[in-house]
Symmetry: C2
Subunit: 87 residues, 2 copies
C-alpha cells in the first residue's frame, strides 16, 4: 500500500524515529516519509516505532492508499533537494 | 482534489502558516492539514502562504490526489483527539 507517514515526537526521540522510518520509507521533508509498504512491512514499522516512542506524548499519523496510488507532490518555498535536518 | 499539506517553517512563522492553512483545510496533526480543495482554493492557499513564509528557509509539502480519494488514516501513539499545539 502507498504510505505517507508524519511524526510528531519529542525532540529527544526524533533521531530514533527518523532512523526507524528510514528503514522502510523515503525521507521527504523534516518529519514526512513516504513509499510503498507491504502489510508485513507496515506491521514491523509500527511495532518498531511503538518501541521507540512515548505513547502518552508522541503521535504518528499514517495515511495509506491503494497500491499504485501516485500522488502529485508539490514543494512550496525552499527547494526540495534534501530534507532539512538530516541526522 | 484531495489534499494533504505538511509545513516545515521557522517557529516564528508557524502561527501565521497555521491560521492560513486552517482557512482551507482541517488540522490533523501539529503540522499536517488535509481536505478537499478546488483548483481556485489551492491557488489562493498557495498565494497566501507564499506571502507568509520565508521562501529561502521554509518548506511546505503538498500532496494531491484525485477528487474522492479517501485515504485510510491511522494514529499511532498519543490519542488523536486534538492537534497538539493549538494556537
Amino acid at each position: 500500500m502507498y504510505t505517507i507517514l508524519v511524526y510528531d515526537t519529542a525532540t529527544e526521540r526524533n533521531a530514533a524515529v527518523l532512523r526507524t522510518c528510514r528503514k522502510y520509507l523515503r525521507h521527504q521533508q523534516r518529519s514526512v516519509f513516504e513509499g510503498e509498504l507491504s502489510t508485513a512491512q507496515m506491521h514491523r514499522l509500527r511495532t518498531e516505532l511503538e518501541q521507540r516512542i512515548d505513547r502518552a506524548y508522541d503521535h504518528i499519523l499514517v495515511y495509506t492508499f491503494p497500491p499504485g496510488t501516485d500522488p502529485r507532490r508539490q514543494s512550496w518555498g525552499r527547494p526540495d533537494d534534501q530534507p532539512h535536518d538530516i541526522l
